[in-house]
Assembly symmetry: C2
Homo-oligomer: 179 residues x 2
């Protein structure tokens, strides 16, 4: 089965594509510049990758308390390349793996500071229709930032729990294909 | 008084700067590539612009229910270029003007779908320390999308209210400088 991989962080989508893709949708095909055609083709390719997928696994961290710039650029382009009325991941089994350097649960000093996960759910589920499983791991900065050393044990438990959840999500996908 | 303008949408910051800027902070200066030096210099320039500002006016729309990709790239770079322990807009009078195509207030079908404004407040106020005034305008798609024609009157009121709020915010800034 072909697998399409994109590393949005290491090979980021260029920042100028969005404007060219959006503007070219309002111009008859013969009037578009080469840059506009190329931008729209990239946007349509991103949308088609999602639409054709039988399953999707996305890894998108919290960054600076929000959505990663690379993830947002990808989302905007995929939406710009979507045919009218189509939900790109309608019913598609989708696993979103997300990480946070600190802890953001209820009662923590940073409760409410995760502005990433609710947005990603909004796009993946409400806009694209994904059948979504979320695997979350917090405290990834424990062991990196000495100020967090007191949370070593808690972070180890979170790590183990996330690995188990990821394994379970992977087995669930595999079971679907075996069926 | 010199005014620094940046149009993040029309002249977007390149997508590859962030990785180069972040990685170069972990490399001694003499070991950095030209691309890394340049990226870090850009990030530091963005941070310095904010730190030196006596006031700031930001226009950042809701886009695809979230933060604009260009705004997030700018925020990430400014943070990457910030000296340790500095809050870039500490006490700086800052006006954030934001627009939304639809309406997202309590009771509307899209209540809770604005994933932009809370994040921008988080960065501007909680991280950067700005003395923030927010000017919001909704229903900018009324008159563009015929499906919203029934809201023409409401949109006109929102437009007028936002213009008045923007005028008041501008006069408040002017008064500070006159003092």
């Amino acid at each position: 089965m072909p697998v399409v991989r994109r590393h949005l962080g290491q090979e980021p989508l260029p920042a100028h594509i969005w404007e060219a893709a959006i503007s070219s949708r309002h111009i008859p095909e013969e009037g578009r510049t080469a840059a506009q055609r190329e931008a729209l083709a990239t946007a349509e390719r991103l949308a088609a990758e999602l639409q054709r997928a039988t399953s999707a696994v996305l890894a998108m961290p919290l960054y600076n308390f929000g959505v990663s710039q690379h993830a947002k650029t990808w989302i905007d382009l995929a939406i710009a390349g979507t045919p009218q009325g189509i939900r790109l991941l309608e019913g598609t089994p989708t696993v979103l793996v997300t990480t946070r350097g600190g802890a953001y649960g209820p009662g923590t000093p940073r409760a409410g500071w995760d502005h990433n996960i609710d947005y990603l759910r909004r796009i993946l589920v409400d806009i694209w229709g994904a059948d979504l499983t979320v695997v979350e791991r917090e405290f990834t900065l424990v062991g990196v930032n000495p100020a967090l050393d007191e949370f070593t044990e808690m972070a180890a438990i979170m790590h183990k729990t996330a690995e188990e959840a990821a394994g379970e999500a992977g087995r669930a996908l595999a079971t679907r294909y075996a069926a």
